[in-house]
Subunit: 489 residues, 2 copies
């Protein structure tokens, strides 16, 4: 690859400004857990940290990631640890692996109880092989361990091996439920870190927009985003498989190939978030790769933006997430009817909703809890949250919760012209009569692709706070892409 | 993060030029395997492809990677496949998962036997649930499966579940050994692809050197490298945890934190390789972050370069990798004695080698096989290759093979001032008398960090071919970093 100036585009890498991790975040979490468990004497919660994961049978491992429940309690980023919380006091104990001295040649100074205690501010640190004896010394008689499954993936949370803990009473009933619920409602320190990460990710999205050239391959958008987050804030990777989709690609909800050459006139959808200290951000922007919306692109985009804005105006403690989802679909339905004309002009909001038609245009839920995972835990908890809906319109929702102050959640309405779901709608006896097939099959609509607008917000006492700061209005996107407007303003 | 021009550096993203994957590569491999197995009638090799790997219990998976033995035979990058090779003819059969139609909304057009056959040029494609019946139809009576462990990681290669294959005779004795040996000696098509990938990775290293500013954080070097490879050739990730180490960091062999702020005067070591279609590249460059070598930096650097060049001049079929390793250590020992003066001037090459002292300066082996993994398989095979050495000087080698034409291997001598290994040498009765402790403990030596120079080469009929094209001479590095010389020339 010969680099010539003719073939180059310029990416501005920012000055590196690491985001500080405030250690008090974790002692606060331990105190919250102890309190939620009733501050019992002699009872401890025991956690297993994340291990290294090889790629198949090779000598190479995936980029290491701490396990989130463990991280939530201790904030320690060392592999193969155990951790315990004294549920009376909230004091933390971390058990680190005892590594051979020679590992120092490969890893640098090895972690010691002293160094980990100093850097993590966890109250006590021992080696893993001292765990049972240390717990006894600290007055532990009973161990609570996590016993439950992630409501998105269905995967059971890993619990520590109990071989060395035979002397303790083991309790599996409460910890998963209580700790999962605790992770749903964030602390101010968590929100502050999340906000700082969103600021970086927002700036990275602005860079992507500003640098985008209409003859790029999609993966160049990914390269620009990731390099910005790595350089600006030392993110090691994206929080999830990033999506850079152009042309018809945005209609494929998990398009991660990101390898198509774009063409002038394409709408582009970029869904990227940096990950830092286990925290995820998750932002989607949609824009025309040549920087100028066509009338049809503007109509669809502004319909999705209206849905996004309507939800943000309505979000507050006490509202049902299902209602927000239906509000977004109703708002987009009006655009499809009154703006694009692909739904019959005489169809009422109620008829559209009753038919389930909007699930063909937005086959995913309005958003999801976010925090230490991009799809954070606690969307559904048996006996605690409302159960998953059963209609095509609601069954895809990752939570049906009533909003509470300090929930972090994504708001991500989307309107897609997915030919699989639209053909099914055209065959559906309830939905087909509402559609104007000729209008829907026009090339500029049928092959439109799609638009998603996704922001990361915090539920506040009075409403919500949007941590995402990217141009959203058509005029702002066009001006930022043309270089005539700076962002943030 | 406010982006201001003052705080920005400019990274040139190249035009995207995807590297074509020639499908004949894989039918050739199947024919090679069939021949090596003796072209038996009715016997098939059965492989298990790679599955998705979740990050702990979350809903997020690591970046998906095909399993390398499977990829080597079929070149298919779809998860959860099985694959079979008819060992009489070398014909391939791939079995793809049968996915629900609704997945098309998330993944786009689902793979079908027809589409996979057309794109992979594998002779036959069925669904996984048809595997046993299809194998019978194709005349299979016996199945060979992989049964062995990776000689670097010790991890057993995954074999397919045999629940559905009860009617076939199962053979575990030969396939692992034969296939592993086959992967060691590359085909021309493999070498061509590897060379093209190295060209991109080399250009990315040149960009890193050219853009490096002496007040960068190390992770900005990683961002610049990765974004170049993603943009230039659609690499999805690095082939391994990349190293960007400055100051004393290069003495830590697996330093992957990459988060330190550099200081003018630091030597920098960057060990990065892009991964594409399972192929790895693995290149290390060492340079002063301010673009100008000090006399001490020049001495050490040129000693390592002399070792690198001496090995490249000697590498050819028939030479022992152990001898190449000893040649590199001997060459660097002379620099430490005659150039840097940290080994006594009257010490002979033989005395230095006999003492094992050089294992303190280079605690790793000279290099490793490379191909579909960064540490490719087949370094040691019981009964086939020379066994692992037992001395501190040779036991870290990842292979002790005699070189053969079309082996791909890294040549990576390094000289490190690692305080753990050097303190041990100073306490070692055989090694300490050879060291000039005062000279060794001088600040500019003791805190030097280290230098590694790593190239990726192919053993040819007459010698070797270096696929890595980066500035190596001190003058060239200084000129490229100063912007007074273009590279490649």
């Amino acid at each position: 690859v010969t680099v010539s100036v003719l073939y180059c585009v310029i990416i501005m890498l920012p000055k590196c400004s690491p985001i500080p991790l405030v250690r008090k975040m974790f002692s606060e979490q331990r105190e919250r857990l102890a309190k939620a468990m009733g501050n019992p004497v002699g009872e401890f919660a025991l956690y297993k940290g994340g291990g290294d994961v090889p790629r198949n049978s090779s000598d190479t491992c995936f980029s290491w990631r701490q396990e989130s429940y463990f991280f939530h309690m201790f904030g320690v980023e060392i592999m193969d640890c155990l951790g315990a919380v004294d549920l009376r006091s909230g004091e933390g104990i971390v058990f680190i692996p005892r590594l051979p001295d020679e590992y120092a040649v490969w890893m640098g100074a090895l972690p010691t109880p002293e160094s980990v205690k100093a850097s993590s501010e966890v109250e006590h640190v021992y080696f893993v092989d001292e765990a049972a004896a240390a717990l006894k010394k600290h007055g532990c008689t009973a161990l609570h361990i996590l016993d439950g499954s992630n409501s998105d993936s269905g995967i059971k949370v890993a619990a520590p091996s109990l071989d060395a803990f035979g002397d303790f009473d083991v309790k599996t009933e409460r910890l998963f439920l209580v700790h999962t619920q605790l992770r749903v409602v964030k602390t101010d320190l968590e929100c502050a870190f999340f906000g700082a990460l969103n600021k970086v990710a927002s700036a990275a999205h602005v860079q992507v927009m500003q640098q985008c050239k209409s003859d790029w391959h999609e993966n160049q958008l990914e390269a620009a985003f990731l390099s910005y987050c790595m350089a600006a804030a030392q993110c090691k990777c994206l929080a999830y498989g990033g999506i850079a989709a152009s042309g018809k690609g945005p209609a494929i909800l998990h398009y991660v190939d990101n390898n198509r050459k774009m063409e002038s006139g394409d709408m582009v959808l970029v869904d990227f978030g940096g990950e830092l200290h286990c925290f995820a951000s998750d932002i989607t922007c949609s824009f025309p790769c040549n920087g100028k919306f066509t009338p049809t692109q503007r109509t669809v985009y502004e319909g999705v933006l209206a849905a996004h804005d309507a939800v943000l105006e309505s979000l507050k403690p006490g509202v049902s997430w299902v209602d927000m989802h239906l509000l977004a679909l109703r708002t987009m339905g009006r655009m499809l009817r009154d703006g694009l004309g692909v739904i019959r002009g005489d169809a009422t909001d109620e008829e559209i909703e009753k038919s389930g038609l909007m699930a063909a245009f937005q086959p995913h839920g309005l958003g999801h809890l976010i925090g230490l995972e991009v799809h954070d835990v606690g969307g559904y908890i048996d006996g605690v949250t409302p159960p998953r809906g059963k209609t095509p319109m609601t069954s895809k929702l990752r939570t049906a919760r009533t909003m509470e102050e300090n929930i972090l959640i994504t708001v991500e309405p989307g309107c897609y012209f997915n030919q699989v779901t639209l053909e099914a709608a055209l065959r559906n006896a309830d939905q087909s009569p509402l559609l104007v097939e000729d209008a829907l099959r026009r090339d500029e609509v049928w092959n439109f692709g799609g638009v998603r607008i996704e922001s990361n917000v915090r539920i506040t006492g009075a409403g919500c706070l949007n941590y995402t700061n990217v141009p959203r209005k058509v005029e702002d996107i066009e001006a930022v892409m043309a270089g005539t407007k700076a962002w943030p303003q």
